[in-house]
């Protein structure tokens, strides 16, 4: 398992960095927020990202992708995290394409994955129903009616739910809430009768929505994977998503830290640079150390995803290590970022506030620190 980027990944990272800086700095997110943009992302930027191949990074070549693996997608996500780009990269690519690739039939893959690579198809994944991530605790049901299914229930925290061309819905075809058995995944047309989508405005200014399903008819050929046996596949998807999300968070963490460090070297008080104060130096040095651990947790998890020898359990453990660690450190660094900037850090005009907002939403999404520590403990037999 390599813990340093290979040459291709480094080149990709460099080009992603300059693209993000030039085409989608934090000011883009600010503009989307201030104009209350209906789509919630910049369509031109997304088309350019797709043209650069970012949407097909981890998709196998036989389905139109570039077979660059999650290591490739990871470095791209990291750079988008630095400028907080709001884009379909997480909902459509990280969650959506991974689901289709992990659970879909050959026909579904051939039909959908190339459209994702082109940037044409937008997906949204509906998992959670309560205010906390709990991939087995849900009540949305899909009951057989003839050959097809009828979907009933409600979902929350669905990224890009209000703009997606297709929804991926996690539902119960049998079993009680909290059981890993009886879980099935479906592709659902958001225009189907009985689907009600309301956009929610989250603190990070990124897309999210609540969706209710009332007797929504879903054709049997829109089932993803085997009926009732979706949990293992869902786990693989969520692990990949947690690792990719952690890569995005790594970019944000480094950006806040870099900006804060720069400020410590500029701001003078009492006639000296505030960066000469030990009270700030030691905190900065501690953050640097934590960030080094974050980099390692992310690259170890990404390499494991691209390593055919990795077991699913190893990947699950690495996913929880990365998500727990990055969540903890993003909160730390974004809090300190505001504190060390002093009053200016509290103003909306200054960008640092966007990072603390993103940090909290990202840490909550797909399981917070506590969720992943508990999961880590269970996976390790305590």
């Amino acid at each position: 398992m390599a813990l340093v980027l290979n040459e291709d990944q480094q080149l990709l990272k460099d080009s992603a960095k300059s693209f993000c800086q030039q085409n989608a700095p934090v000011s883009q997110l600010r503009r989307l927020r201030d104009s209350d943009d209906a789509k919630g992302f910049d369509a031109d930027t997304w088309q350019q990202m797709a043209a650069l191949g970012w949407a097909g990074m981890a998709i196998p070549e036989e389905y139109g992708g570039y077979g660059f693996g999650y290591g490739g997608l990871g470095v791209v996500l990291e750079e988008t995290g630095r400028s907080l780009i709001s884009s379909p990269l997480i909902p459509t690519v990280l969650l959506g394409a991974s689901t289709i690739n992990e659970l879909g039939s050959e026909r579904q893959k051939l039909e959908l994955l190339p459209k994702i690579v082109e940037g044409e198809l937008l997906l949204a994944m509906a998992i959670d129903e309560t205010t906390f991530h709990a991939p087995t605790k849900f009540n949305t049901t899909a009951t057989k009616s003839g050959e097809n299914f009828k979907l009933n229930g409600s979902k929350t925290f669905v990224l890009d739910g209000h703009i997606a061309n297709k929804l991926i819905v996690v539902a119960r075809t049998s079993g009680e809430s909290d059981s890993a058995k009886g879980i099935s995944l479906f592709l659902v047309d958001p225009a189907s009768p009985g689907v009600e989508i309301s956009r929610t405005h989250m603190v990070d200014s990124r897309n999210s929505s609540k969706i209710t399903f009332t007797d929504v008819e879903v054709f049997a050929d829109n089932l993803l994977g085997d009926e009732g046996n979706g949990f293992a596949g869902l786990t693989r998807v969520l692990d990949r998503a947690c690792i990719g999300l952690a890569a995005e968070m790594l970019g944000g963490i480094q950006e806040v830290f870099d900006r804060t460090l720069e400020y410590l070297k500029q701001r003078e008080q009492f006639g000296v640079l505030i960066g000469s104060f030990q009270g700030l130096q030691h905190r900065a040095a501690s953050m640097y150390s934590e960030i080094e651990l974050c980099k390692s947790a992310v690259i170890a998890a990404l390499s494991a995803l691209d390593d055919e020898h990795s077991t699913e359990k190893e990947i699950s453990i690495l996913a929880s290590v990365a998500k727990a660690k990055l969540s903890e450190v993003y909160c730390l660094v974004s809090n300190e970022g505001i504190q060390m900037h002093g009053g200016i850090g509290m103003t909306d005009e200054f960008d640092i506030g966007f990072f603390i907002k993103r940090a909290r939403v990202a840490q909550q999404f797909l399981g917070d620190v506590g969720f992943h520590r508990q999961r880590y403990a269970s996976l390790n037999g305590f």
Partner: protein, 409 residues
């Protein structure tokens, strides 16, 4: 690629044939091999293992073959370490000569110094100690006052050192001495080697809160040292001193690496792992019942995992033969803090059975936890305090203004 595969195969085979079975079990305190002129081998297979590894130069795999080292490439060393780990091989030797002195001698020593000392270090024939700290010079190491005066062909050394690890058992010392008192403190220090059996040297062990005495006070009274034993240039010892500290930090940071593993006292011990101990002493079978402790242990182990990856990554990132860099301060600091956290958690895991001092009523392992917990408190002091490491990171890695620049003069 093929050459590396060959190397892996031949290494695996060699280890299979040459690593004695008892050397593939977890290390126990009494069997640690320190080498030296009169070495002790509690387990006779330890000697066999040391000799075999030393013959191949694999006690010091990166060092040049010219001086008895292994002469391996970085990629080969990674493979060797993987293969050693695969069979749980014990370190053949624990040696300050290998982890601290050797690398700086190779970098700064003369050919004569290398020829004289390096092969013996590789073979574990001389046990070294480190003469750095003094009673009045702890974190402010450069204020040291032990003097070396040139008298003819010899230096006369007078003064005292403290926290000299195993000075009472060492054969030789690498020592920082003041050779000029009329210049700023960093500019009058030299790095010198001498025989601990020289006349005028005395040592006195210091008992720690853990009851053990790994450190000594060391006194020098007109100790005569040949002038040729000075390493590098006169009064330029501080550069060597700092370089050696980087190697020392890398060595100490490995405490943190071990802290994530279940490496204590063999696999049957009730305190072999924190989580295992926590469940054992609570009578839990499948899940730790104390949910607060469970969260803390998970947090600790996640940090340990991420730290182990970081340590490996720093090796992968370093260039061939470059050795440690400024990140050694980060690794030292984090590794030591992790090790301290480990023992605090172990106390929580075990409860009152981890607070025994001696006698019946406690198992050997339980008593060892108490002692090791106390000993771990030194981890963030020895080799530079955590606060000093944070200063180094702030200054050398982050480029923040030096708070001590005014106090240096």
């Amino acid at each position: 690629m093929f050459a590396l595969k060959d190397f892996q195969n031949s290494t695996r085979q060699w280890l299979e044939e040459n690593c004695p079975q008892s050397m593939r079990t977890p290390m126990v305190q009494e069997e640690i091999v320190w080498g030296g002129k009169s070495p002790t081998f509690a387990n006779p297979e330890s000697k066999l293992w040391l000799d075999r590894m030393a013959d191949k130069g694999w006690t010091c795999p990166s060092w040049p073959t010219e001086y008895g080292g292994g002469g391996l490439l970085k990629e080969e060393i990674i493979i060797l370490n993987q293969e050693l780990a695969r069979i749980n091989a014990r370190p053949a030797i624990t040696s300050f000569g290998i982890s601290m002195l050797g690398p700086v001698l190779l970098e700064y020593g003369s050919h004569e110094h290398k020829m004289e000392h390096i092969p013996k270090i590789v073979r574990g024939e001389i046990r070294w100690c480190q003469g750095y700290s003094e009673p009045g010079s702890g974190s402010d190491l450069a204020s040291l006052g032990t003097k070396a005066d040139l008298q003819g062909d010899n230096y006369l050394i007078n003064g005292s050192k403290v926290w000299t690890s195993y000075a009472d058992k060492a054969d030789w010392i690498f020592c920082l001495v003041r050779t000029d008192t009329d210049v700023p403190k960093h500019s009058g220090i030299s790095f010198i080697l001498f025989d601990m059996s020289s006349e005028g040297i005395s040592t006195k062990p210091i008992q720690l809160i853990s009851g053990s005495s790994p450190f000594c006070e060391t006194f020098f009274d007109d100790v005569k040292v040949p002038a040729g034993n000075l390493v590098g240039r006169l009064n330029e010892g501080w550069t060597i001193a700092k370089r050696l500290l980087q190697h020392e930090r890398t060595m100490i940071s490995s405490f943190g690496l071990a802290s994530g593993q279940s490496d204590r006292g063999g696999t049957t011990s009730t305190v072999a792992s924190i989580e295992g101990a926590a469940m054992h002493y609570r009578g839990d079978t499948d899940k730790l019942s104390d949910s607060v402790l469970r969260d803390k242990i998970a947090q600790f182990k996640i940090d340990s995992d991420a730290f182990a990856f970081t340590s490996r990554r720093s090796v992968e990132e370093s260039k061939q033969g470059q050795g440690p860099n400024a990140t050694s301060s980060m690794l030292k600091n984090y590794g030591c803090e992790l090790n301290k956290r480990r023992y605090e958690l172990l106390l929580e895991a075990v409860g009152s059975q981890a607070l025994g001092w001696e006698g019946d009523g406690f198992s050997t392992d339980e008593l060892q936890v108490t002692r090791d917990w106390l000993r771990s408190k030194a981890n963030s002091i020895e080799g530079g305090t955590s606060e000093v490491q944070l200063n180094v990171i702030a200054k050398r890695v982050l480029g923040l203004p030096d708070i001590l620049s005014l106090a240096k003069k």
